[in-house]
Symmetry: C2
Subunit: 177 residues, 2 copies
Amino acid sequence: MDRIPYQATGAAATYDGIERLPVAVLLDNVRSMYNVGSFFRTADAVAAEVLCLGGITASPPKHAITKTALGAEERVRWEHSWDVAGMAARMRERGFELAAVETSLHSVDLFDWTPRFPVCIMFGNEVDGLSPELAELADVHVRIPMLGVKHSLNVATSGGVVLYELLRKYRALLRQA
Amino acid sequence: MDRIPYQATGAAATYDGIERLPVAVLLDNVRSMYNVGSFFRTADAVAAEVLCLGGITASPPKHAITKTALGAEERVRWEHSWDVAGMAARMRERGFELAAVETSLHSVDLFDWTPRFPVCIMFGNEVDGLSPELAELADVHVRIPMLGVKHSLNVATSGGVVLYELLRKYRALLRQA
């Protein structure tokens, strides 16, 4: 089959009429700049509204971010705050449902979850996960199903899984309407 | 809410009765060992059948793989071959549908795609994508929707998106049966 090379066109693509996904991403003290760069790239790919960088999460310009973001860090809106809980609270005031990606007693399976758009989806530190304060603040805890024995994914991989599932759900919602 | 710490239990978890996802993953000349390690971790998380490492794709034991696989490389079945097309052909002989993750003229949207399990899902090199030979060999080309301007994802992130969508589809299929 003929192949279309991966290439930036300069203009943003739409997807079934979707120009922007009503989703914000909040990173709570993510340590690795490569993970942050990967989130920029994925946030650009799904046209997320904004990337909220909290605490020690690095913000552009940084060489290690650019290395994995490949320029997406120049196109995705982002903000940074040391007061991560305050940033989450502001997103709620702006109408976003606060969803924590977290395995907890009351967590909802990602694929069974019915989000209330707009959604602010929160990811925690690579080792410690979300701070207890943010986990407590969340409207809902969402868990990614795990069949293996490790019971965890790389945080940037989790980001791709959750953001694309939100895109799938949002498209399905628009088709129903 | 109470939180369950991420921890390996020693025993593999099932998901709605699914013990193993009938999916193989083939990596065609993936350059970065961090990406390979990430694929091991994701393949463990969805309990994929086997990880086929082709060409320059590194295989365990390697420090850089362990660093991102975090031990998953000891639990996921893998094989390596320099003859990547031969490896793909053997998977077809074993009954797997060969699906290329590739943007091409005839590609099917990931979310609209109806896979025929078992599926061998093939990912290409970070820069060059799949070799023309493998792209030609594939039964189907599957594309991940892209709304941004970059039109590509990190290959390990793509792996998470596609493998979890296959898990979602497989569970839905079992529920219908």
